[in-house]
């Protein structure tokens, strides 16, 4: 079974690379990106070996514990769990979870994140090779820690996906998980702040760092990673206790996953439930009109509240300022004045503006093949682009204005208001324009709203990556003038603020117009290809 799953995963991967054009290029880029992040880290680990066991422990234990948490959270938040080997697909075959489990674990290591984890693990084992005892323990504990990472994320997603039958409940859980992940992100920042301030407060920073590592090493995320250090420092009993704890954790997770898998195998994902009744108000139509463009905008705003995927995206934007401010607020803890600490909030509005473009960029693939209606009716591509852009502007502009006003007011930086407003407006319009153009060129199959909330086809990441880059390039070029003016205003040029307030929206609007115009023309040309790309699975 293990060999079967590995072969399956490998051939899926090979086919991904074998695909033509953008998809293959995107996959190569994604892997280069992953390697570019991982290889320096591995080199750092090997170099760390010189520093002695205490240094290795105080650096690697917190880092690898964070990696473990990240392994649990990041897929849910950003990438989606690669469910090419979705247990649901095996529901009709006479297999038990017990026989599938090892294969699924091993197959999880194939793919960019898995390979990165393995490489980092090898680096960690080398870092611990200074004493025989620590090397032996690392050879046991590091693979155990890596397997725990996989088990952690797979067990959770399988359990959540399998436990729910009703469409609406399934979607709500998906939204909840995404939010929990978001706040976990805030939580981790807070913990990071607290720990680092603890280190800074200690008389001897190195001792503080050791304390942090010791503390993290006793959390479930750190058991496996801390065990080799104990051996290196001669604390054989403590190391063994941690190894046993780590083993128990992995065993417990495996048992939980097995239970969830067995349930998933007998509970088909498509369940029936209460039908959802809706009534639409005429307000949206009064706002957008009854043209094709207006109908598309109204439809997106309307279904936004009914589609957990889209709702999470926009809500994430709204929570974003909190993400940026929370650590500063917590980290203050007295000392310098609160007002200086909230400067971070000033950057929130422009950040939301940039991310709004990414949300618009995903709009077409969220529709998926339902967008074939636009092709069948012969909706002009530019109407499709404008409809999407207007809908998301309606949703995002209030958030941006609110955050902009709050940032200026809280920091008492009224002098920056025009420049910041111009920058935000310019970035918002340019990134939405960039998205309108770029998303006409890159599509991928997105799991439908009612499906497994954690599923994501592996080809999607690559096309999505290309879309992100294309969008970012256009947005960056389009907002360059206003960025320059904003920097000038920051450095004290009095005329630059009002100039930014004019140039930002003007250039941004031009980029948006061009994005919808040329993106629309591209869509007119390549509707069949776009539909084909969203259909392929």
């Amino acid at each position: 079974m293990v060999a079967l799953f590995v072969r399956l995963k490998l051939s899926l991967l090979r086919r991904g690379f074998g695909r033509s054009g953008a998809t293959a290029a995107g996959m190569v880029l994604a892997y280069l990106f992953a390697l570019g992040l991982t290889l320096p880290a591995v080199a750092g680990l090997i170099f760390l070996r010189q520093g002695g066991p205490e240094v290795v422990a105080s650096v690697t234990v917190p880092l690898f514990a964070m990696l473990t948490v990240g392994w649990l959270v990041l897929p849910l938040l950003f990438f989606g769990v690669d469910e090419t080997l979705d247990p649901g697909r095996f529901a009709l075959l006479p297999v038990r979870a017990r026989t599938m489990l090892p294969g699924l674990v091993v197959a999880s290591f194939i793919g960019a994140p898995g390979i990165a984890l393995v490489l980092l693990g090898v680096g960690l084992v080398i870092a611990w090779s200074s004493t025989p005892a620590s090397l032996a323990m690392a050879a046991l504990a590091v693979p155990l820690g890596a397997v725990t990472c996989v088990l952690l994320s797979r067990a959770l997603t399988t359990a959540l996906a399998g436990a729910l039958g009703r469409r609406r409940a399934r979607e709500n859980v998906a939204a909840l998980v995404a939010f929990a992940g978001l706040f976990l992100g805030i939580g981790m920042q807070v913990v990071g702040r607290l720990l680092s301030s603890w280190v800074a407060a200690a008389e001897d920073p190195a001792a503080g760092a050791r304390g942090v590592a010791e503390f993290v090493g006793w959390t479930p995320f750190g058991w496996a990673w801390a065990a080799p250090g104990d051996m290196a420092q001669g604390r054989y009993v403590v190391g063994s206790v941690r190894l046993v704890l780590a083993l128990a954790l992995a065993y417990g997770l495996a048992a939980w996953w097995r239970w969830a898998l067995d349930r998933a195998l007998v509970t088909p994902a498509a369940g029936t439930g209460d039908a959802e009744k809706v009534h639409s108000s005429a307000a949206l139509e009064r706002l957008f009109g009854t043209s094709a463009r207006g109908a598309i905008a109204a439809r997106i705003v309307r279904s936004w509240r009914r589609d957990s995927r889209a709702m999470v995206q926009v809500a994430t934007l709204a929570v974003f300022p909190l993400l940026m401010v929370a650590p500063t607020l917590i980290g203050t803890g007295g000392g310098r004045g609160d007002r200086d600490q909230l400067v971070g909030l000033l950057s929130a509005a422009p950040f939301i503006a940039v991310f709004a473009g990414m949300v618009v960029a995903n709009s077409l693939v969220l529709d998926g093949t339902a967008a074939s209606l636009h092709a069948l009716v012969g909706v002009r591509g530019s109407d499709d682009r404008w409809g999407r852009a207007l809908a998301y502007l309606l949703l995002v502009v209030p958030v941006v204005v609110l955050v902009w006003g709050a940032a200026v007011a809280v920091n008492q930086r009224w002098d920056l208001a025009p420049a910041l407003g111009g920058l935000t407006a310019g970035l918002l319009l340019a990134s939405v324009g960039g998205a309108s153009w770029a998303s006409a060129h890159f599509q991928w199959p997105q799991p439908p709203a009612g499906g497994n909330p954690f599923q994501r086809n592996s080809g999607g990441g690559a096309a999505g990556f290309m879309l992100l880059i294309a969008n970012a390039v256009v947005a960056a070029i389009g907002s360059l003038p206003v960025i320059v003016l904003f920097v000038l205003a920051l450095t004290g040029a009095g005329w630059a603020g009002p100039a930014a307030a004019v140039v930002g929206p003007a250039v941004g609007a031009a980029v948006l117009w061009a994005g919808c115009r040329f993106g629309g023309a591209a869509l007119d040309r390549r509707w069949p290809e776009a539909l084909e790309a969203m259909r392929r699975s």
Binding site: V278, H279, E285, T290, S291, D367, L376, A449, G450
Partner: protein, 257 residues
Amino acid sequence: MTDALVLSGLAKRFGTKIAVDNLSLTVPRGVLFGLVGPNGAGKTTTLSMATGLLRPDVGTATILGHDVWSDPPAAKARMGVMPDGMRLFDRLSGRELLRYVGLLRGMPPAEVDRRSVDLLAALGLAGDADTVVADYSAGMTKKISLACALLHAPGLLILDEPFEAVDPVSGEAIRDILRGYVRSGGTVVMSSHVMELVEQLCDGVGVIAGGRVLAVGATAQVCAGLPLQQRFLQLVGATAGPQGGGLEWLRSSSDSN
């Protein structure tokens, strides 16, 4: 008078597999035309190329005199399509979906509402008009999809498997709608797997297999005195029933192993 649908020299290849092979087909106006063929014959591929959803490698498709690929707006305004294998905007209710389609087609809102009420009632969806399409059953989804195709009273209807998963009562309603529509001068091109249905309902039949047209013409003419089922098997070169010597192992219960 121009023909309703003219496909000429259409071809499509997916990798090494030829899905549609130099296919030509003409459907005159005012007929209910059935397209039949085994699985993988190229029915959906052909209809997708005729409706502008899939780009043919070569060949042309003409709807009521307008080329689908060189003059898409004119061709698309004249046909109503129910595609197969495409999702719907299923976060909208049935009523909202119809209104959306109507506005995209540039119809006056009041007219859209009037026709929506008629269509929802005729297809037995009036009670579920405010239910989101995501919660519709397979048959209801087919019916709302059909309503979307009918809304702008097109000159040509292209329906991929319109009767699949539809219950007998709704099936009868759909037959009545299609017959009435053809009587008033409209043209229907539909694909189906159910030979009895096509034989009874359709004026003309096209049999395709391997991406080619094997026979086309008035239903009686294609049938040549046989039931369509028999004639179809004859044309695609299959014999009825399991062929001698196959599947013996299936006859013993696998429990005995």
